[in-house]
């Protein structure tokens, strides 16, 4: 597989679901170089998942511009593929068929598609389950298949919407490492949304802290740590503490609409500390 990353340019992006709803987020600006891994962290309701859906072309912007390699994103594309919180595999298909379905949509010849599917399944170490029905896999295995289904499209950008949140700790750690190493190996960009500060430190080149209502990017922190990253590494722990402090500060910025936001943010922090 030969995959390249993409230059991401988000300028003054603002979104509201409809005219009766308040703004979800406003004036979000992000610039990312090809191959960079961005993690957006923020508490529930700050608009981070909505931002991800807009980048994927699954939602329209209200105002502002979103460019991927200087191309305006208007609709979904196999060049920027999203992985969701749940794998959402098609249960009537086996692993190979699930991984290859995007190529089928794109009209790929069967033989070439088969070769690419095998390669993608190999990347996520699921070769021995290739013929198994998707329903017979564990949650972690299903999420690996979903990752292969995304990678087989040779995307320039992989969008991840809390894809490991439903997994057990061991599977989550293994997948965090695998996704980062695969993305680095292939040179693709990652934009991931998470609540988990550890996940951000372990996977990101840059962490964007989003907070407030409407949501805003409060901090943009570069995470210059060596790979492979270990949770017990003092440098990782120190970065985690920094990020936690920034997140805490950002979460205490009073919202435009809700004066009680500060109390809600405190409640949320307890959850974050326990991650």
């Amino acid at each position: 597989m030969s995959i390249r990353g993409v230059h991401i340019s988000v300028k003054d992006l603002t979104h509201r679901y409809n005219s009766k709803c308040p703004l979800t987020f406003e004036k979000v600006n992000i610039e990312a170089e090809p191959g960079e891994a961005l993690i957006i962290i923020g508490r529930s309701g700050c608009g981070k998942s909505t931002l991800l859906h807009i980048i994927a072309g699954l939602l329209a912007t209200t105002s502002g511009t979103l460019l991927l390699n200087n191309e305006v994103v208007k609709k979904p594309s196999s060049r920027w593929v999203m992985m969701f919180q749940a794998p959402h595999l098609f249960p009537w298909l086996n692993v190979e068929q699930n991984v290859g379905i995007g190529l089928k949509f794109a009209g790929w010849p069967k033989k070439e598609a088969q070769a690419r599917v095998a390669e993608a399944i190999g990347l996520v170490h699921m070769e021995e389950f290739a013929k198994q029905n998707a329903q017979n896999l564990s949650g972690g295995q299903q999420q690996r298949v979903a990752l292969a289904r995304s990678l087989v499209m040779e995307p320039e950008l992989l969008l991840l919407d809390e894809p490991f949140s439903a997994l057990d700790a061991f599977t989550r750690t293994a997948l965090q490492k695998d996704v980062r190493s695969i993305a680095k190996e292939l040179g693709i960009n990652i934009v991931m949304v998470t609540h988990d500060i550890d996940e951000a430190v372990l996977m990101a080149d840059r962490a964007l802290v989003m907070a407030g209502s409407p949501g805003k990017i409060m901090h943009d922190i570069r995470i210059d740590l060596e790979d492979p990253r270990d949770r017990e590494d003092p440098a990782v722990q120190s970065m985690r503490a920094n990020l936690m402090q920034m997140f805490h500060d950002a979460s205490h910025v009073p919202s435009d609409d809700d004066p009680s936001d500060e109390v809600a943010a405190d409640g949320d922090m307890s959850t974050l500390h326990s991650v």
């Binding site: 994927a56 699954l58 979904p76 594309s77 196999s78 593929v81 999203m82 969701f84 749940a86 959402h88 098609f90 249960p91 009537w92 298909l93 379905i101 995007g102 089928k104 949509f105 794109a106 198994q132 029905n133 329903q135 017979n136 289904r149 499209m153």
Partner: protein, 285 residues
């Protein structure tokens, strides 16, 4: 002997701890019991039938109707088969049934998908469809005879209008249960509306469509016989009407039995197809 041993030796006889049941023998046992119950049910029905025939036979007032019993009926089968009554009736009725079922599937699935996918269509069509669904299929017969050129076409229309609703409503119900995230994933992977229909919607609701077809088949099979009582000179319904008019009660009962057996085979085939094509909790071979 160690205290934690699972074996106990008593007077030279080795009494093992309870053996784990062999899965193969358990399956054979379960299947054997199911088969025995199946045969047993049929034997009970046969016995009741025989008893009814015997009661008719011993009562001087009803002796003339003794041919309804199982023995005269089974005796009539070779004759009805060799003179072509059963094959011809089955052939004519099957043609009508499968033509109507084909029409019901071709019309019912798109209607069901429209009901499931379009809120406007669902709301607009709900009252007229519910009204039409509640009209007895046979009440369309006078209109069908006027509209269509032949009785054959009229009967196919009656069967189609009876069986289109189960297919349409089962399809719509199936679509309502489809995980909306599958559409989002498919769009995300570059699917167009045609891809979504062929690769997502239809496989996702195969179970529901086949369940609808099974219900439709049952309804059509029930409507078929009375629909063939009038006008036509072929089919299972006609054969029964003919046997009644010629007072051939053994032939009449034989044809009733043929209807039951053929209907049972059709329904079982549908049940097998549902089992084969359903993806719900599919186990590896």
């Amino acid at each position: 002997m160690s205290t934690n041993s699972t074996n106990v030796v008593t007077a030279g006889v080795n009494i093992d701890a309870p053996e784990k049941a062999n899965p193969c023998s358990r399956i054979i046992k379960t299947k054997g019991r199911s088969l025995a119950n199946w045969v047993g049910g049929l034997l009970i029905l046969g016995a009741l039938w025989w008893l009814g025939g015997y009661m008719l036979y011993i009562n001087p007032d009803t002796t003339n109707f003794a041919d309804f019993g199982p023995i005269p009926t089974f005796k009539a089968f070779p004759h009805l088969w060799s003179d072509g009554t059963i094959p011809n009736a089955l052939s004519a009725s099957s043609y009508r049934l499968f033509s109507a079922l084909g029409i019901a599937i071709v019309c019912g699935i798109p209607i069901g998908i429209l009901i499931g996918r379009s809120k406007v269509f669902r709301e607009v069509s709900n009252s007229p469809f519910q009204l039409l669904r509640m009209v007895s299929p046979l009440s369309w017969e006078p209109i069908a005879v006027i509209v269509f050129l032949s009785w054959n076409q009229a009967i196919i229309f009656l069967l189609a209008i009876a069986s289109v609703w189960p297919v349409a409503f089962a399809t719509a119900a199936g679509l309502a249960k489809v995980d909306p995230a599958w559409f989002k994933v498919a769009k995300n992977l570059g699917a167009n509306p045609w891809h979504i229909l062929i690769h997502i919607i239809l496989p996702a609701i195969t179970f529901d469509i086949l369940t609808g077809v099974r219900s439709a088949l049952g309804v059509a099979w029930i409507v078929l016989v009375p629909a063939e009582f009038l006008g036509v000179t072929s089919g299972l319904g006609y054969s029964i009407a003919d046997a009644r008019e010629t007072l051939s009660y053994d032939h009449l009962t034989a044809m009733v039995l043929v209807i039951g057996i053929f209907g049972y085979i059709l329904d079982s085939s549908c049940a097998l197809a549902i089992k084969k094509f359903s993806w719900h909790h599919k186990e590896e071979p």
